[in-house]
Symmetry: C2
Subunit: 224 residues, 2 copies
């Protein structure tokens, strides 16, 4: 079986062009963020004529969406890894805290290690694109091995915090938004903002402090 990505080809049919284009699209996103996901370049790398892409993707936007979903799946897997690494803890308190911590730190680590994919995953849509409601279900799902997307993984971790008595049940609704805000904002500062030139340990320290802040801050009663 030939390398699925390799542009050399002896058959007229490619056999797996959709998958190949998607892989190249992901590579482009990894190298240069969402703007680098250029349809012509993906076909070029696949060793195929530009318009061949239209047999497999409606248009450039369609390809980009698929890449975006793949990037989200990568992130989901990164977070799952952090959660898995903590399952050996049997004390529910410890495990719940460690998992929560892992989600936040995993998110930030991924942002630093894969800035292109991270930016693609959360690329702002053009200004006027309407929310199409439910995501259409395709093979390119944003989910990780557990079948959950990053948001759902965060949600579960918060549920576990409640179950372990670390988070008042009254605080649970909407807690995702609080945690996600903190962590995503720091990703921005570190990636494109004023913390761009921090090194790894400085970054790590800020990340830990941030997660701790969220954990503590979440205990506060809302509305006061």
């Amino acid at each position: 079986m030939p390398d699925i990505i390799n542009p050399t080809r002896d058959t007229y049919r490619h056999g797996n062009l959709r998958h190949t284009l998607l892989e190249h699209g992901i590579a482009l996103a990894r190298e240069g963020g969402p703007a680098a996901v250029v349809l012509r370049e993906a076909t070029r790398r696949a060793g195929v004529v530009p318009n061949a892409a239209y047999r497999h993707f409606k248009n450039r936007q369609d390809l980009l969406e698929a890449v975006r979903a793949a990037a989200l799946a990568h992130l989901a897997r990164a977070i799952e890894t952090e959660i898995d690494a903590v399952q050996h803890l049997h004390e529910p308190h410890q495990r719940a805290r460690a998992a929560f911590r892992g989600v936040g730190l995993g998110y930030l680590r991924f942002a630093r290690q894969e800035p292109g994919l991270f930016r693609t995953a959360f690329a702002a849509r053009p200004f006027d694109v309407k929310d199409t409601g439910e995501d259409p279900l395709t093979d390119d799902s944003p989910r990780g091995a557990s079948g959950m997307d990053p948001f759902q993984l965060l949600g579960h971790t918060l549920d576990d915090m409640v179950a372990a008595g670390l988070l008042p049940a009254a605080q649970r609704p909407g807690a995702e938004w609080m945690a996600w805000s903190a962590v995503h904002g720091m990703a921005f500062l570190v990636l494109g903002g004023p913390l761009r030139s921090l090194d790894e340990p400085e970054c790590q320290a800020l990340a830990e402090r941030l997660v701790l802040m969220v954990e503590r801050g979440l205990l506060a009663a809302p509305g006061m």
Copy 2:
């Protein structure tokens, strides 16, 4: 004196083209974010030939930077307004807390009311653009009426929190990054993310909860 923006012109010289182009650039950013700041469109609106812009800006990027600085100044002013609205409180505890709250809520309100400017202010630079160190000092400064940029305003508010005894001095260093992360991340969720379709009161409630979370969370000792 004719409207500085008005494209009708009887003189050969424009007289104020740099300023006019900048104003139109800001309008474009307001309408469609950083990508909408198109040099040709700015000149078109100014009633001037495209290349005339090159008498006043080095290139498109130079114009965009000026617009970005202006957008930051808008944000600074929005935050200043919130801080000013709170100066009537004489009890230092109350005033410091209210000011801090105002900075966060002002930031988020601005993001919602001026999404285009907000996104322009924090537009990610192209991937490979080097940090040029200090910002060059130009007339288009990112500062508000007080002469401070948004980051400095936040810093002062945190200093006041320490002075009022609301924040342990040990927690002060780096506290900006914590607060900024939280608030910027929520701006993202609300602008381009999953909280896109929240209405004003829902938004406001989340914002208040977030600021409270930061305030409480900041009390935690780092490194534990």
